[in-house]
């Protein structure tokens, strides 16, 4: 039987992660940030593909759009291109912090770490379960709307159905949440 990871190790890793992300967030030097990124890649090379994929999917697009839009805005406002260095440092800082976060969380059981705080654990579990349930319900509602229309639903169709869909989402998700909450309570949470 595989042994369970030591929760104390997980808590130590979480503490080290907090110190690291605050330390990285203090730096504005491109070379220091690049070095920090390199160290993070070396330390967390196991599972790097998954962390990088998450980074590319969830952080890079938003950060790139923010940086590019800000540079463009400043170019329009002042008539000259702003110095790219601070913007690069900003984007790199954000990416290093996110990469370290994703890599650490891949190695830690978060629910085990918050287990001593019972009400918070229950709220966290109910919320995570509801996020999943809401996503499923939203997909089902969209598919339902699609099946009732002879064509692909447009923005107006979605707006017309928004009231009913939101009402169904709220009611079903509240019932769902009560079931999960009662189940957790009956198990001592």
């Amino acid at each position: 039987m595989a042994s369970r990871p030591d929760p104390r190790l997980g808590r130590a890793l979480l503490a080290a992660w907090l110190v690291t992300v605050f330390a990285v967030s203090a730096s504005r030097d491109l070379r220091t940030l690049a070095a920090a990124g390199l160290v993070a890649v070396l330390v967390f090379r196991r599972g790097i593909g998954r962390s990088l994929a998450r980074l590319l999917r969830s952080v890079v697009p938003l950060t790139a759009v923010l940086a590019l839009a800000s540079v463009g805005w400043l170019r329009l406002a002042s008539g000259a291109w702003p110095d790219a260095g601070p913007f690069l440092a900003l984007a790199l800082r954000t990416c290093v912090i996110a990469f370290v976060t994703f890599s650490v969380l891949d190695r830690v059981n978060l629910l085990e770490a918050v287990a001593p705080f019972q009400t918070l654990s229950r709220l966290l579990v109910v919320t995570l379960a509801q996020i999943h349930a809401l996503r499923l319900l939203a997909t089902e509602s969209r598919e339902g709307l699609r099946s009732r229309l002879p064509r692909r639903p447009g923005a107006l169709d979605l707006l017309r159905g928004a009231g009913g869909i939101t009402a169904a989402l709220l009611t079903l998700s509240a019932r769902n949440a009560r079931e999960i909450s009662d189940a957790m309570r009956s198990r001592g949470f």
Partner: protein, 211 residues
């Protein structure tokens, strides 16, 4: 309107944590004790709904993005401190699993979007609800959005003032880029969402909803 990780230095993020942490402890002790057992499922449900709403983000130049917040409902139905804890939880889940916002700026984002915004909206609702319930609800949603956005703008402007090389976007750009969508689109949408969702919740007559 989340301020992302890396946009605010520890000079500002640590004091924000220092203010937020005791408030979290106080709010959890006061509002999430044994007496909250009945309302917890609905609170969790509305928190999840707020999470889903907040994932629909539109990036804006100047340092952040615009979106609905959705926790005003929790402030109106329960208490601004409940909204504060729930919004903090949403921000934590977003930071840990979805790379939105971040853990270094969690205190700052929670104070702006979870406390100041809903508290301002709640006060507006308390002041105006006798005149017209619907107008008061709409204005509560709208005001909560403006106050939360202003707080985020203020933090980014202060960061630029402290160290322009750290956050290079001038405050005027940040202010315009964040406040214009907030005043015209996001605030109105938040107001309408608050009116609509609250009327739905009241009609659904759910156990644990304090109307």
């Amino acid at each position: 309107m989340h301020v992302p990780d890396g946009f605010i230095s520890p000079q500002l993020s640590l004091p924000a944590w220092a203010v937020a942490a005791p408030l979290w402890a106080f709010a959890v002790r006061r509002r999430f004790g044994r007496e909250a057992t009945e309302s917890l499922p609905v609170v969790g449900s509305l928190t999840a709904l707020a999470f889903v709403i907040q994932t629909l983000m539109i990036p804006v130049p100047g340092g952040t993005s615009t979106h609905l917040v959705g926790v005003m409902l929790l402030a109106l139905l329960y208490h601004p401190l409940v909204a504060f804890v729930c919004e903090s939880l949403v921000l934590l889940v977003q930071a840990l699993f979805f790379g939105a916002g971040g853990v270094t700026v969690l205190g700052l984002n929670a104070l702006a979007m979870g406390l100041l915004g809903p508290l301002a909206g709640w006060l507006v609702w308390r002041l105006l609800r006798r005149l017209s319930e619907r107008t008061a609800l709409f204005l509560a949603g709208w005001v909560s959005m403006q106050v939360a956005t202003l707080a985020a703008v203020g933090a980014l402007a202060l960061q630029h003032h402290l160290d322009p090389a750290y956050f290079p976007v001038p405050p005027a750009v940040t202010f315009l880029a964040m406040m214009v969508p907030s005043l015209t689109v996001a605030g109105v949408a938040e107001g309408l969402y608050t009116v609509f969702a609250l009327s739905l919740l009241r009609k659904a007559n759910l156990r644990g909803v304090e109307t």
